[in-house]
Symmetry: C2
Subunit: 292 residues, 2 copies
């Protein structure tokens, strides 16, 4: 069993990006600039945005954090997005989700210029990813593909079972893995809460991508000997023994599943660090105007 080290892979990639940024600056080109908008003080969101800003620093990007209180209006937020769309110094920007209930997340996502949509959530980027055109691919699916690539895991003709059909993980990773590409060319099955034959499907999978957000859902009896397991789950399960009072828990019951696998990602330290790293890659692409 090989443990897929997302933390190390992400660190390697960030160094590669930093190297490229140095090169860009040496050529007199513009320093890539990522702006993050954070609304309110949700614990998870604070942590993610802080990590994103830190990653920008490592990569040599300029980063700006724009904060709003919970009571910001949708109109105010949309006006700021419009400003960022028109600001030539801003290469890419994200609005950290979730947003307070009085703001339409979908409206916000669609207000972002797709050419600066480094989260890859805009319908144009979703559609182009599906068609197989160059696009900002959303960060978690892109991170998963990068891990498969860096660990030379074969996907062509393999049976991939994706657990979960969310717009930001399940659906796009399924789309990517069925493309005529590497990683890709896989037979892809998408399972979800309505799936009756979930265990049977998993048992036949060469690769399982678990993105249900259901802690310890995938157990050893659901996994074929030698399977590759990518665990996207990161649920904060209350835990009295940790300083934070919770423990990040994946969708896979790691201890019993790991011995059966050829490759497996841990939680934390697997897909999580790759997600931020993919956002950095998208920011570099935006800075270089490599996609649009």
């Amino acid at each position: 069993m090989i443990l897929i080290d997302g933390k190390k892979t992400a660190d390697d990639i960030k160094l590669e990006i930093a190297e490229e940024v140095k090169q860009l600056l040496a050529e007199g080109k513009k320093q890539p600039h990522l702006v993050a908008i954070l609304v309110g003080h949700d614990g998870g969101s604070e942590t993610y945005v802080a990590a994103k800003c830190k990653a920008c620093e490592v990569c040599g990007f300029k980063s700006t954090l724009i904060r709003y209180e919970d009571d910001v209006t949708e109109v105010e937020l949309l006006a700021r997005i419009e400003e960022l769309n028109n600001d030539d110094d801003v290469d890419g920007f994200i609005v950290q989700l979730p947003l307070p209930k009085h703001i339409s997340e979908q409206k916000v996502i669609e207000a972002i210029d797709y050419k600066k949509d480094v989260d890859g959530f805009h319908p144009i980027n979703v559609g182009r990813t599906s068609i197989g055109l160059p696009a900002f691919v959303s960060a978690t699916p892109a991170g998963i593909l990068e891990l498969l690539k860096r660990y030379n895991i074969e996907t062509a003709g393999k049976h991939v079972v994706v657990l979960g059909r969310s717009n930001i993980v399940g659906k796009p990773v399924a789309q990517l893995l069925m493309q005529k590409a590497y990683p890709g060319n896989a037979t892809v099955t998408v399972c979800h809460s309505y799936s009756k034959d979930l265990k049977e499907q998993c048992l036949k999978a060469d690769i399982i991508i678990a993105a249900l957000g259901s802690p310890n859902f995938v157990t050893a009896d659901m996994v074929k000997e030698g399977a590759v397991i990518i665990d996207v789950g990161t649920t904060r399960v209350p835990n009295a023994n940790t300083k934070s009072g919770f423990k990040l828990t994946g969708d896979v019951k790691f201890d019993e599943v790991a011995p059966k696998c050829s490759y497996i990602t841990p939680v934390p330290g697997g897909v999580g660090p790759m997600t931020i790293c993919s956002l950095m890659k998208n920011t570099l692409l935006a800075g270089k105007k490599a996609i649009y």
Copy 2:
């Protein structure tokens, strides 16, 4: 075994549309207007476009056919598309594919205003379909869903195997059938030329959607007793006994597969007529500004 009558279903829907158009006109509203651009004289394209114009007549739409010879330049075509985008009298328009090799189909597709893209090929419509937002859904997948709906075929929790990963059928129909909706909520597997376990996958399918363009590919030994078969294949196989010199042939070996099925679509007269009918539905939606 129940034969799914796509021709009759399409005829019914066109009458429903015609009824609604009468209503619109009675209310003093605009007559929906579809424009089709046809480049060259490809036999298949001529037939399809003629059928589309005829369907417009049945539905009570205004329709306009714009013809170009094979040597039209990309610039000329794109200029005409821009004109149609800005023409308020035009509710929706399509450019019949395939196009001559010197014209980029993707450029043409993306040049069409997504609000008039009744073929549903523009990345925005593809992306919105995937996310589950209102969109012009591409015609063949929309037609397949309509057949499932009109025949009350259950899809929730069913295992659907889609054969083929084309941008206009395989990928979008897979996307639609995994949505939280009816028809939808299915466990969806997409197979293609790289799939190693294709027969095994098919044997477990409750519903098979065959869209490979490979005549008679699906044989009886690949189909579970009681399965639903949707045959999207329409290959023109040379045949000395027909007036046209060819015979439209599906992806399914109908004679041997049909007896095992609970429902099956014939070729011709199954999915084909529904495709044009979905284009009419999209045109009605465009005329009513019901989506954008």
